[in-house]
Structure formats: C-alpha cells, structure tokens
Amino acid sequence: MGKLIINQEKVGNIQDLISICPFGALEEKDHKLQINAACKMCNLCVKKGPKGAVVFVEDSVESIDKDQWKGIAVYADHIDGVIHPVTYELLGKARELADKVNQPVYAVMMGHHIGSQCEELLHYEADKVFVYDQEELDRFRMEPYAKVFEHFVQMIKPAVILVGATPVGRQLAPRVAAKLRTGLTADCTILDINENTDLVQIRPAFGGNIMAQILTPNHRPQMATVRYKVMNAPERKEAARGEIVQCHTAAEVLSSRVTVLDIIPKEKEQYIEASEVLIVAGRGIKKEEDLAMLEELADLLGGQVACTRPVMEAGWLDSKRQVGLSGRTVRPKLIITCGVSGSVQFAAGMNNSEQIIAINKDENAPIFKTAHYCLVGDLYEIIPDLIGRMKESRSAGISSLAAAAAR
C-alpha cells in the first residue's frame, strides 16, 4: 500500500533511470522525470535507481484480524453430482496446508439431489462438508451459486478458499471474490502457507517466463484457483471421516437472470489429461501423415497423441490435444516429445509429468532443460525403429508364452 514519489534533485541522469523501467512508465517531461499510467508499481526504479531518486511511501492501512478467519475450504466442483477430480486434488492440498497451521479442512458443495455424492468428500479427509441441496441450485447458474458461496463464507469465515480452474470454477471464483472484495490468484502452480495463515501463491506470469509469488496480506478470505492435474491426487481413504453439515439459503435470494435451457454432453472423447502416457508431436514432424507413426507408438504404449501449438494451428490435430499455457495442462506418468523445441509456454503445461523423454535433433533445444532423458537425434530414425522393435519383442513374448503354455 503506498505510492511512488520522485525527488528530482537525486535523479541524476534521467535516461539511465528511464531505462531501468521494463514497462516504459518513466518519461522525461520539461527536463523532469515523470511516472505515467504504464506504471505497474514493481518498484524496480526504487531498488535499482540512484538512492532516493524514486521512493516508495507506505500508507498505513488498518489491518484485519486474521484470527477471525479459520480453515481451508475447497469448492466441490461437480456436474449433476459427478464430482470433478480436481476437487480431490485440492482437498489433498488443503489438508497439507491445514496441518501446517493446525486448522480444519472444509468442503462446500451446492446442487440438487447431491445427498449421497457429497459423502464421497469425506473419504478425502474433509473435516466438514457444507452442503446446500436446493432445487434452485439444480444446475450451475452464476447468480444463485455466487450468493450461496457468499452465504457459506460469511457463516464459516474460512482463511483460504481453493477452487478448481474448471469452466465453472474459472467464472464462479472471480464473481465471488468481487462480491467479497477480496483477492483471487488464478492458476496457481504452487501453494504454501505462512504461520500467520497468509497463503503463498505461486503462478506463472508473462507466458510462463517468470514465476510470481503472490500474497493477500490484508484481506480474508484468500482465494486461489488451481488447474486440474497440477496438485497431487491423494489416495481415497477407505473409511469416511468428518461430518456433513446441511445448509440452506432462502429461495428468494436465489433468483437468476439466466435460464439454463439445455446441457448437451459432448461425444465421449478421450482427454489427453486422462492419459497416463502421451506422445507429443511438435513441428519436427514434417507432414500430417507422419502422425500415424506417433499414433502407432501411442497405441503400443497404451497412450494418446498430443501436440504443440503450431501442429494444432496447422489443423493436423484438434485444439483439445494441444499441451501448454494456451492448451491443456497434463501430468502423465510418461511423456515423449518428438520434434518439440520446448518453449516455456509448452513446458508450462507438462513439466510436472513424472517421466519426460525428449527427442530432438538440436542439442541446444530448451526441451532438454525440462526432460529427464534427452535423446539428441532424429526422430525419423528413432520412432519407426522403436515401433519395429517393440512389435518384435511383443510377438516374441507372445510366442514364448504360447510355447510355455503348450508344454
């Protein structure tokens, strides 16, 4: 909280100071240094400029009582009672954070006829599950859902709220955050918590070239969204623990200016997020037909083919198969990239994969910084050969089995 003040007499060489600002927010006017509206308050001019030239003046702010806010809450994302698995990942994370500060884990679920489904959350170590089971909440509609969310927050006062970055979560969380006049950090990749319950939120910025560590130091609740497959999925516990708390909001406040007319399930597609093995086609693949060999390899390994953005843009594969910042985040057990340079935008979507194998002709390709096994070579020499050998050893395996069975 504060503002920047310029002490002209300490500026020295104006141009030197101007060049420090990465946002072009410093300019010279009538031989004086000025700050314009491009300022992002990054304070680099304060830190890197001549001492005292630009100073940051702190305004005192009334601080909030953080002890009034307790618990790590997770929004249970679901469609017609089918809980999105990101919810479990977030419950796992919530448990970890809650244990650090010795606070409870909550889940909040809203919908209609969700009585039995909400119990599933108790297998993932939620201490309390707050359930709003009302006709008006049958399907996700922004206004009533945001109202109910607000009701929950005012009743429970959680310190932290985690929401999955699903199509619903990505629009519900910001509306709730604005309603509560609090901060919301999108697409966090790392979450931690300080002793004073400040949530440490880390997310990629500027297209993944930079990681930013963000705090919400003087507001509660603190809100963050996390994409599916970014946090670890916890084991489902055999025994349910914790309790279900039935909640209710007055039907009058649940009106909406949106009417859901229809929900049409899309044809069952295979999601690359769900695949344990991915073979990624990059621009090193010369022509569309060559994707067939990657398909064949994927079949042999029980996986699917994914791609980089240029391959999607060429129209060779659907955008749903694109991995990366503007595509999907994946976390398979094995990923083999073929002719992928490994731009930060691509890597941002796959660098949590368990085993990363990269094939690239160029030994300096950035993908080799991300990969665990770096094959410096021509994919056209490796892939067809690999397929051949795998088939061979497979049929050998089958015939030796058959031979053993015949004995």
Binding site: G2, K3, P22, F23, A25, N36, A37, A38, C39, K40, M41, L44, I79, M142, E143, P167, V168, R170, Q171, P174, R175, A177, A178, R181, T182, G183, L184, T185, A205, G207, N209, I210, A212, Q213, I214, T216, P217, R257, V258, V260, L261, D262, I264, K266, V277, L300, L301, L334, V344, A348, N351, K369, Y373, C374, G377, D378, I382, D385, L386, R389
Partner: protein, 262 residues
C-alpha cells in the same frame, strides 16, 4: 443495441525474462498489440450490430499508448473509444482493474451488452470479465461459443464447457466473455482507418470517476501483492544421450522396459 467491448493492449512477444542473478525483469522489445482474444469480442459486437443496429464502444484501461488498440478497433468498424488512464491505477490486480473498469463504464453510459475476450495473453487470468459483471451487478456468462438468438430483452447463447455444451438464455444488460473462434475476426480496413484517423478518444482519469478515493485503485486497491518474481525452476535429474539412431533406439527401449511401459 448499445454494446461495450473491453479490450487490452498486451506485449507483442512473450520475450520477458527474469535475470536469475539480479531478479530484474528483462523486456526485449516492448512492441505492443491488441490482446488477440479481444478481436473475437469486437467481431461479435460488429455482427450483433449488423443484425440489430446500435452503437459499439471499445474501452481500455492502460497507459496513453494503449489508445492504439482503440484506433485499431475503429478500423474494424467500432464507433467510439474510451481510455481509462491514470498513474494512480498502476499496479492494479484483478479486483482493482475490474473496479476501475466498472467505474469507467458507469460514467460512460448504459449498455445492453458488455463483451470481453476469453483472457489476456499477459494477465492471463480470465477473471476480469466476471469481476466487472459483479461490480455492475449484472448477469454474466463465460465460454460463450455461439450466439444462437437475439431477442428484444434477452439472448440465447451456447457455451463450451469442455465436457458438455450448455445452452442458456440471459437477460440484458449482461456481460459475455466469448471464446476464440466464435466468429472469425475481420481485418482492419484501410478506408476505415483513414476515415477514423482523427476520431476523438474520450479519456477518463480518476477525477472523472464517481469514486475518487485513491485507496480503491491501483496498488492500494489491490488485495493481492506480488512479493517476488523468479525464473522457473529447471529440472535437476537429467541424462543426455548421444549416438546414432540405432543406439538411441536401443537405449530408449531399454529405458521404457525398465520403467515398465514396454
């Protein structure tokens, strides 16, 4: 139909890096362009206007140079432009940005429809649109992939929700965040660019807004604060394999077997 489109100027390349030693941002080439996703919002506005008539205003919050994207929108056929700009807006997070935009909108007039892009390529949160709608207390829908019907008091739209397609009717005034590919954006026209060369752009500063309390804007109005920036981690377990195709294939197959994938 009175339509407002929120657009943003973003860095043209993502060649922004952090110096790992000093922690300083390095920005090579600060060329700017319109956020590509906002072109779809503008195109959507133009299509609706072609059908129903009315006027389109584009607005952006940013430094003076950001008026470039308003001019680009004029060359696509937009009627009016508005820039919300003040040093006091610097360092705004999503809450402060959306509040500033909503204050600006309230000062500009009343709109039946507000359109936003899916997300920006620099902020990349997809949160500004829904938060603007909350400040204005109007309904909103994101992921809008088709406009199916325009009625007098409402519209019917289709949304792409990953696993299913949802069809909903929403009453005016409302805010929609549209998907890429809702319509193919037209190119700016040279003729229109010439015609609109001198068209005035309305500029709003904090002094023009209803709420002039500095504590509600920029860094002061932002609950979230960036504590530090750092380069992404690089992985430490790494094996580099060189050799001819034959050797590499053999090694790869052995590894796949060891990891129990083959």
């Amino acid at each position: 139909m009175n339509i407002l489109v929120c657009i943003k100027q973003v860095p043209d390349s993502n060649k922004v890096e952090v110096d790992p030693v000093t922690g300083v941002l390095k920005r090579n080439g600060v060329e700017s362009k319109m956020n590509p996703y906002d072109l779809y919002a503008i195109e959507t506005a133009l299509r609706i206007k072609e059908q129903l008539g009315g006027e389109i205003t584009v607005m952006t919050m940013g430094p003076n140079q950001a008026s470039g994207v308003l001019k680009e929108a004029f060359a696509m056929g937009v009627d009016h432009g508005m820039l919300i700009s003040d040093r006091k807006f610097g360092g705004a997070d999503v809450l402060a940005t959306s509040y500033t935009i909503s204050q600006g909108i309230q000062k500009t007039g009343s709109f039946d429809l507000i359109l936003c892009g899916k997300q920006t390529t620099d902020g990349d949160t997809a949160q500004v649109g829904p938060e603007v709608a909350e400040w204005l207390e109007i309904p909103s829908l994101s992921n809008v992939s088709k406009i199916l019907e325009l009625k007098s008091g409402s519209m019917i739209v289709e949304m792409d929700m990953t696993h299913d397609v949802e069809i909903a009717e929403i009453q005016y005034p409302c805010l929609l965040a549209v998907e890429k590919d809702i319509y193919i954006p037209r190119l700016p026209s040279y003729v229109k660019k010439q015609e609109t060369k001198d068209r005035e752009i309305r500029i709003l500063t904090i002094a023009d807004l209803e709420d002039q309390d500095e504590m509600h804007y920029g860094l002061n109005g932002s609950p979230t604060q960036v504590q530090r920036i750092f380069p992404p981690e690089v992985n430490t377990h790494r094996e580099v394999w060189n050799g001819d195709g034959d050797e590499l294939t053999a090694k790869l197959l052995a590894k796949l077997k060891e990891l129990k994938f083959a």
